[in-house]
């Protein structure tokens, strides 16, 4: 009896182990596409997003209709886990996907490892000729490209405005930099550590560095000499001093966006409370305001052009979301066929619209359908040509160090030039 029970237990344990093998990853969300036994099946990995995933499924369905011999399976993972899953899968050389929708900045880490397949030259020529400058920067490495852009990631040029508050105050949206700062100065109010209204909340992980870099570029300045950082120059110092004064002297905002533990970003505060008057942020926030917070565009908030600090309409941008093919994929041809289908300028526009993305393709960006679907993109479409690739480096490292520098100057009254010299040496230490 004991022997029999032991045998049953052993078989049950072995069976439970076997069922674990090859099971889809927990916490993942798979499309129904490609479940039938096809000649070639390729896998697409992306992160879970309620707007993006249906758009991906539609793209897959269209592709499969046009290519009946290829099936595509989508697997999506929570955003927080997605980068590490991507890294682990590429490391294993056997698991993972054929195609990844990944953040352009990650490609910098992967390109030099040979984890991704280089984009075929003829196809890349087409992509390059129809793309804005910043959108392919991170995918390039030593003359080859290891990914194809889907979007123009833009964190400068648009301003979320608290429409009811503007109406209540009886003021117009700003059209010049000075106008914007004056409105912010006049209407900000605080009581010690508590802010009742932040006039212009540019203090955030992404917003602060992009605002500063645009101020430098639009003034005709530079922050890099070759591949070395050089913030400690007259324009760099002047613009940083301005930003510091906006916080320390004019008090149009405070450091909460960088230091407060509440996970609420300035733009989210604008959507959910009356504490923000204007917040610079990318256009992707608009769909969050509408779909997540249930706000009415035009009534509760609007997205307007953010004035430039200097005479030139220039700003820095990093490469946004794009597609890459696993170098270990056994189905390279099918994978590239799928990527090429997806990035066709006419087809990718629908995807961009569904995802609330600014297109990476010039053709798609100038298609009137884009502004018909997303009229709030108008201020951005007009300035896309002024986008400059931020540079081939880990942007998180830059954001981290700009954050530390800014807090140090505001809190400890460190002279700006001294702080920027430290910033240069930290960034150039690698």
């Amino acid at each position: 009896m004991k022997k029999f029970t032991s045998c049953v237990l052993a078989v049950a344990l072995a069976a439970s182990l076997l069922t674990g093998c090859g099971a889809p990853a927990a916490n993942s969300d798979s499309s129904a596409a490609g479940k039938s036994g096809a000649a070639t099946t390729i896998t697409l990995w992306s992160h879970i997003d309620e707007n993006w995933n249906p758009a991906q499924d539609k793209m897959i369905a269209d592709f499969e209709a046009a290519n009946p011999d290829i099936k595509v399976v989508r697997e999506s993972f929570p955003y927080d886990e997605f980068e590490s899953k991507t890294q682990t899968s590429l490391l294993s050389k056997e698991g993972g996907a054929d195609v990844y929708q990944l953040w352009g900045g990650w490609a910098i880490d992967y390109a030099k490892t040979g984890a991704f397949s280089p984009v075929p030259d003829t196809y890349m020529e087409k992509v390059k000729s129809d793309s804005y400058e910043p959108v392919i920067g991170s995918f390039g490495y030593k003359g080859k490209y290891y990914g194809v852009p889907l979007e123009f990631n833009i964190e400068y040029g648009g301003l979320l405005v608290n429409t009811p508050k503007f109406k209540e105050l009886g003021i117009q949206y700003p059209t010049t930099w000075d106008d914007m700062i004056n409105i912010a100065k006049k209407n900000s109010s605080s009581d010690g550590a508590v802010y009742h209204l932040r006039g212009l909340d540019f203090v955030g992980w992404d917003t602060l560095p992009y605002t500063w870099l645009s101020m430098i570029l639009s003034s005709g300045g530079k922050y890099m000499e070759g591949d070395k950082f050089n913030f400690n120059n007259p324009v760099g110092v002047e613009t940083m001093q301005k930003l510091v004064d906006y916080v320390a002297v004019d008090k149009i905002t405070n450091l909460d966006g960088l230091t407060n533990a509440s996970d609420t970003e300035p733009y989210q505060k604008l959507f959910t409370s009356d504490e923000e008057l204007m917040v610079p942020r990318g256009p992707w926030t608009v769909s969050e305001g509408i779909h997540v917070d249930g706000l009415e565009y035009g009534k509760d908030f609007e997205y307007v052009a953010m004035p430039f600090y200097g005479p030139q309409k220039l700003f820095a941008a990093e490469t946004g979301w794009g597609l890459a093919v696993n170098a270990s994929s056994k189905n390279q041809e099918a994978a590239w066929k799928f990527v090429e289908f997806w990035t066709d300028p006419d087809r990718v526009l629908d995807y961009n619209i569904a995802c609330g993305m600014v297109p990476a393709s010039k053709t798609a960006a100038h298609n009137p359908e884009l502004l018909k679907a997303m009229p709030y993109l108008e201020p951005l479409v007009n300035i896309l040509d002024g986008g400059k690739f931020i540079g081939y480096f880990n942007t998180d490292k830059l954001k981290e160090n700009v954050k530390n520098t800014f807090i140090d100057i505001v809190n400890n009254k460190t002279p700006v030039a001294e702080a920027l010299e430290k910033l240069d040496s930290t960034m150039n230490a690698e």
Binding site: L91, A193, N260, E400
Partner: protein, 291 residues
């Protein structure tokens, strides 16, 4: 001899388990710290002690080390003091149901995931509408404090939260230790005229030596490794890195800047730090006798 073989044979599975899941990863981590390591790279260059050399000139590492030592020093000291006092008070309650009730109450925060408790406390510490600031204003007329946005307040705020979240375990352990002390000693002391305080210092504390030694060691080790509350309450390391501790810095270096070799070097330092502190503490708390 036969007995020895049998013992080795019985212990072999657990040794294998320890070797595979503890010794090998530690050795692997140590090995990685000597490389400019990126797991995706086909070839990772051996750089010797370069990662360790970088540590001494890395201001954030030095700040994180200081923060870690300050956090562990203050929190563990307060934790041990508070839990000893509370365990003693609980053990003095005459009704067993009351004793159980208080143990359960104090243990409850330990059941909640630290990450979730941290999020809740983030709300309590909020500058505007936070419960703590509201209470300070209502009862003492104190203006709102930006607890988590001011460099000098971040660490005290996290220490207070950690004490709340973690004292339950030690109260249970000390209570169990106190319950195990024979009552004869107390009866004899009472006959000699000893009061409550004298009984605690001359009987309870010495006879609790082994428990105290174990609890202190485990608390030190666990506090060195705390991470969740720093990630949640000290946003991005906190203002001026005031909430940046070694565990968070390891995480950030490994997974954000993807410098895994350097992150491993920091992890080795943390490992050595824990080992040194634990050895010193074990030496100081060596118990020479029992009951």
């Amino acid at each position: 001899m036969k007995n020895n073989r049998f013992v080795y044979f019985v212990l072999l599975p657990i040794f294998l388990l320890l070797a595979v899941f503890f010794v090998l990863p530690i050795a692997g981590g140590l090995a990685i710290s000597f490389f400019d390591y990126n797991p995706l790279r086909a070839i990772n260059h051996f750089i010797g002690f370069e990662n360790f050399g970088k540590l001494m000139s890395d201001k954030i590492f030095l700040k994180s080390t200081t923060n870690t030592l300050v956090f562990v020093g203050i929190t563990v000291t307060l934790n041990i003091f508070i839990t000893l006092v509370l365990a003693q008070l609980i053990s003095m309650l005459p009704w067993p149901k009351f004793r159980s009730f208080f143990r359960v109450i104090f243990f409850m925060p330990c059941v909640a995931p630290l990450i979730a408790s941290s999020v809740v406390w983030g709300g309590l510490y909020a500058t505007k509408y936070g419960l703590i600031n509201n209470m300070l204003k209502t009862f003492f007329g104190i203006s709102p404090v930006n607890w988590l946005g001011t460099a000098s307040y971040v660490m005290p705020a996290i220490i207070i939260f950690t004490l709340w979240a973690d004292i339950g375990y030690n109260i249970i352990l000390f209570s169990a230790g106190m319950d195990g002390i024979p009552t004869d000693f107390y009866e004899a002391a009472e006959i000699d005229g000893a009061g409550m305080v004298k009984k605690f210092f001359y009987i309870t504390l010495p006879l609790l030596g082994r428990t105290v030694s174990f609890v202190v060691a485990m608390t030190i080790i666990s506090h060195f490794q705390m991470f969740a509350q720093f990630q949640v309450l000290a946003k991005l390391g906190g203002p001026e890195n005031s909430g940046n501790v070694l565990t968070y810095y390891i995480y950030k270096t490994a997974f954000q800047t993807k410098d895994m070799g350097y992150a491993s070097a920091i992890a080795v330092v943390l490992f050595v730090l824990i080992m040194i502190v634990t050895i010193i503490q074990q030496r100081l708390n060596r118990v020479e006798w029992g009951y």
